[in-house]
């Protein structure tokens, strides 16, 4: 490095403590250059301690610093010295701004991924313990974020030391700490060898008085369901599902409705058909509209887990009522999903049960409810063919494509024409829709003409 090269680096070093935050940010982003100029030994011995001191800075700078440290292994001499990066990262992980904390923990993850747990286990364990004893609760939260990184590949003695710390934090009086303990529990469960150890903690978190903590239990349960032996499912998973399905808090029921398909993957299909389908049917009729919308959104996916009888007898009746739901977003959710079920139940049932609902939705006064139907119309076409319905479908599409009041409705309809072309037979499309589509090329709103042109190719194909 020539004279000017070193000088530039020296200026960068000064900039790390400049008055203006922009300069500090630029300097932090140039840390690799500074480190290269100093060399690995000096970087470890002088630069890292220097960086430790700039922890009371602006969020932007701290975010950049957290990120840089995650990629700093090559500059400090590689794997043997990985632990040198921990002190500044430890400081950053314990700060109160969540974005900075998460970036620091992400950097921990990167480093551990590269070097493995073994070389740094001692330092990580000490670090985790220190953070747990921290005077600010955000340090405990950081510790709870680092423990899962360490646990899976850690030695059994390290694991034995860590778990009590985690369990203690899960009972902390500060709700934010308990919430993170509940949130990260799933990572521990996935990595563990003996899932039974975690059952008591899981059950106590399910009973936490704070909704924010209980909400996290659904994800933990999904993890449990994947690791628990089948004969224990009845003891732990099913009671959990029952209590959440009947929980007074709509947010819990909502979470369950959202995640129920994942949860059921670990459960025998006969149990799903017999018991869990009842809860799902209840969700479709829940008093809270958000729960109804969430379950309508998972309708088709859930039906894939069931046999035909269960679908027709237990789920189709409540689903039908949703087409008259007072809330448009619930009806929209239904419209997006209903036709995906056609292949699952076959032609006869489709005609008998789904067509009436489909026709009701087709006539909905809210265009946002009607439009999603066309995206999935191919599923119905495969099962029963659309000719018989042409009388209803064509006017509906025509109305939407010619909606004078709202050009955005026309726009969305034109965006869906390629789907229509793809999912229906060529004759059918040409016969009923081609002219309508070509009209779009002459629409007064440019966005529609643009879409029509873009889709012309797709439709032609």
């Amino acid at each position: 490095l020539g004279e000017s090269g070193l000088y530039k680096i020296a200026v960068l070093i000064d900039d790390l403590r400049a008055e203006e935050s922009k300069k500090r940010l630029a300097a932090v982003q140039s840390l690799p250059q500074i480190a290269e100029a100093l060399g690995a030994d000096r970087t470890r011995g002088e630069l890292l301690p220097f960086l430790l001191d700039i922890a009371d800075d602006e969020d932007e700078v701290l975010l950049a610093l957290s990120e840089q440290l995650g990629n700093f292994l090559p500059f400090i001499g590689g794997t043997p010295y990985a632990a040198h990066l921990f002190p500044p990262l430890e400081r950053l992980a314990g700060l109160e701004e969540p974005a900075v904390r998460e970036r620091a923990i992400e950097s921990f993850r990167k480093i551990i991924d590269k070097v493995g747990v073994k070389p740094v286990e001692k330092e990580l364990l000490a670090l985790v313990k220190r953070l747990m004893e921290g005077e600010v609760f955000t340090m405990k939260i950081a510790s709870l974020g680092i423990i899962p990184l360490l646990y899976g590949s850690g030695s059994s003695s390290a694991q034995a030391e860590i778990l009590p710390l985690y369990f203690k934090a899960a009972k902390d009086e500060i709700p934010q700490v308990r919430r993170i303990a509940a949130k990260n529990l799933k990572d521990l469960i996935y990595a563990c060898k003996n899932v039974e150890e975690f059952l008591p903690l899981f059950q106590s978190l399910c009973l936490d008085e704070q909704d924010s903590v209980r909400l996290m239990s659904v994800e933990s349960c999904i993890a449990l369901s994947k690791k628990i032996p089948q004969n224990k499912v009845g003891n732990y998973i099913l009671p959990f599902i029952k209590s959440v399905a009947e929980d007074k808090s709509w947010r819990m029921r909502y979470m369950l409705a959202e995640k129920i398909v994942e949860l059921c993957k670990g459960i025998e299909s006969s149990i799903v058909c017999k018991d869990i389908s009842n809860y799902f049917a209840k969700f479709l009729q829940d008093s809270e509209s958000e729960v109804r919308a969430a379950s309508a959104g998972r309708f088709a996916e859930f039906c894939k887990l069931l046999d035909l009888n269960t679908i027709v007898e237990k789920l189709i009746p409540p689903m039908k009522k949703l087409s008259n739901d007072p809330f448009p977003f619930v009806r929209k959710s239904l419209a997006e999903n209903i036709l995906l079920v056609c292949p699952l139940i076959g032609g006869t049932h489709t005609s008998q049960h789904l067509i009436p609902t489909f026709l009701t939705l087709l006539k909905d006064e809210n265009s946002e409810v009607v439009l999603p139907l066309f995206k999935t119309i191919g599923y119905m076409n495969k099962v029963i063919g659309l000719d018989s319905l042409a009388q209803s479908i064509v006017p509906a599409i025509s109305n939407l494509a010619n909606d004078k009041k709202n050009w955005r409705t026309r726009l969305t309809m034109f965006q869906y024409f390629p789907f229509l072309a793809q999912q229906t037979e060529e004759n059918f499309f040409n016969d009923k829709f081609l002219e309508l589509f070509l009209q779009g090329l002459g629409d007064s709103v440019f966005a529609i003409r643009e879409i029509a042109v873009e889709n012309l190719m797709k439709v032609a194909e």
Binding site: E3, L6, Y7
Partner: protein, 459 residues
């Protein structure tokens, strides 16, 4: 049905009798200015102790926040098992900063005042203190922390030049003095079309509600560009508007329960677990109308609730309207446990008070730490300490003027008013105690009068 218990203020109490067992003394006063220097901007608009009681924040009409701390003061002693006697707490200024600036709403051609309406402290953060402050439109999250001034022992680039560009040296950081500084962490703006009257933090430590005249919004402390509306009482036709929301508060430890009061004298309890939109209350607290009392145009105005406060154990709450304070049990919606008149002598004067707009003054109330007493203000810089059964009423004056007749030799500087001394004809209605606060764990009260903050203690 028996009428709610009412206390007759004309029943005399002698200075000697202390049925409530509290012996109040004046402790000290802060934020004093010479009378001539006091401007409208200095008038205090809110007072709030933090969770430990070690710090107290006040906001003023000029949009400033002043924080006083009792920590680290030479007169602060701990005795025995760490419990300090109340007399030792001395609040000294810690930091003063501008929280809100006056703004202009161009769309409605309205000025947005910088006056701080409410301050709420976040809990559990040891050395770093965080508080939420709000004016009519914008809520801000402030962090108050120590900053160590650090300086470089030398400049690296100068060193480099000195050695002809051959050496690179890293300076050392030397710590300078500690200063207390404030940083703005979040700004929660554009959440309210109407004037914000309250903010309240949830026991989960992560969310809070804010309420204006017609709506209550739920926020997450970490997300400042989104908020959920959970109560909306705006009628489809604004001309049909008959009531507005006046105050709201979260339950101290049930994360799903909050309550809000209205200008019609009702308090509604809402449960966030029931539904996403909490328009339907789960409990409604309303005192039954007294058929014997005459209803006047003013009786509706004075029934508007200006403040509600949960007790620390979450089983009771207070509601303050213009003339009374009511103590309610959360489990009894039909009527309050008792309804205590604060300055009943004003009832015949409501017409005059309406003419001067004083009838719209919003008095606050404060529960004691042990739920045994509460505190509320009145005119003439008077304030009252009641016990929650409504059996005792001690009236004091928040003032520095010591009466010439030293009637109370033992009590240090506190000016107590016997009921017979309270003469509303001589009341100065421009002098009022609207904002008060009670220490979270001891018998120590902060009373704001104009620009001054008075501290009183009791054993």
């Amino acid at each position: 049905r028996p009428a709610p218990q009412r206390r007759d203020p004309r029943r005399g109490r002698t200075e000697g009798a202390m049925a409530d067992g509290l012996d109040w003394r004046f402790s000290h006063v802060v934020a004093e200015k010479e009378e001539g220097d006091v401007t409208e901007a200095d008038i205090l608009s809110t007072v709030e102790f933090d969770g430990t009681g070690e710090n107290i924040a006040v906001g003023d009409k000029g949009g400033r926040i002043l924080v006083f701390t009792s920590q680290g003061n030479p007169s602060f002693h701990t005795r025995g098992g760490g419990a300090s006697t109340v007399r030792d707490l001395d609040y000294r200024p810690q930091i003063e900063f501008q929280s809100h600036e006056p703004e202009f709403d161009y769309l409605k051609s309205l000025e947005i005042e910088e006056r701080i309406n409410k301050i709420k402290w976040l809990g559990g953060r040891n050395r770093t203190q965080m508080l939420l402050s709000t004016n009519d439109k914008t809520i801000k999250l402030w962090k108050i922390h120590e900053k160590k001034a650090k300086s470089l022992s030398f400049s690296s680039s100068e060193e480099c030049r000195r050695t002809g560009g051959r050496a690179l040296r890293l300076p050392r950081l030397t710590s300078g003095e500690h200063t207390i500084t404030n940083t703005s962490r979040r700004v929660f703006a554009n959440g309210h079309a109407y004037h914000i009257n309250s903010i309240s933090l949830n026991s989960d430590g992560e969310t809070f509600i804010s309420s204006d005249d017609l709506r209550v919004n739920l926020w997450n402390l970490e997300i400042n560009d989104q908020s959920f509306n959970i109560v909306d009482i705006k009628p489809a036709n604004l001309e049909e508007l008959t009531e507005v929301i006046t105050s709201s508060e979260f339950h101290p430890f049930h994360c799903n329960i909050f309550m809000y009061s209205s200008s019609k004298g009702t308090v509604k309890l809402a449960d966030m677990r029931d539904a996403a939109l909490c328009d339907h209350h789960s409990k409604l607290f309303e005192e039954p109308e007294d058929p014997s009392s005459a209803k006047s145009f003013f009786s509706e105005i004075v029934s508007s609730i200006s403040d509600i406060k949960f007790s620390r154990d979450g089983r009771y709450f207070l509601s303050r309207d213009y003339l009374t304070v009511k103590v309610w049990d959360l489990n009894m919606e039909k009527r309050p446990l008792c309804s205590i008149p604060v300055h009943e002598q004003l009832r015949p004067k409501l017409c005059d008070l309406y003419e001067n707009d004083f009838i719209f003054d919003k008095f606050e109330c404060s529960f004691s730490h042990d739920n045994g007493h509460f505190l509320t203000g009145s005119y003439n810089n008077y304030f009252h300490v009641f016990d929650t059964r409504g059996r005792s009423d001690a009236c004091f004056e928040a003032s520095r003027v010591i009466p010439k007749k030293k009637l109370f030799k033992k009590q240090k500087d506190i000016i107590r008013k016997a009921p017979e001394d309270i003469n509303v004809e001589t009341f100065d209605f421009r002098k009022k105690v609207l904002h008060t606060a009670w220490h979270p764990s001891m018998n120590l009260c902060a009373v704001a009068a104009a620009n001054m903050l008075f501290f009183y203690t009791a054993s």
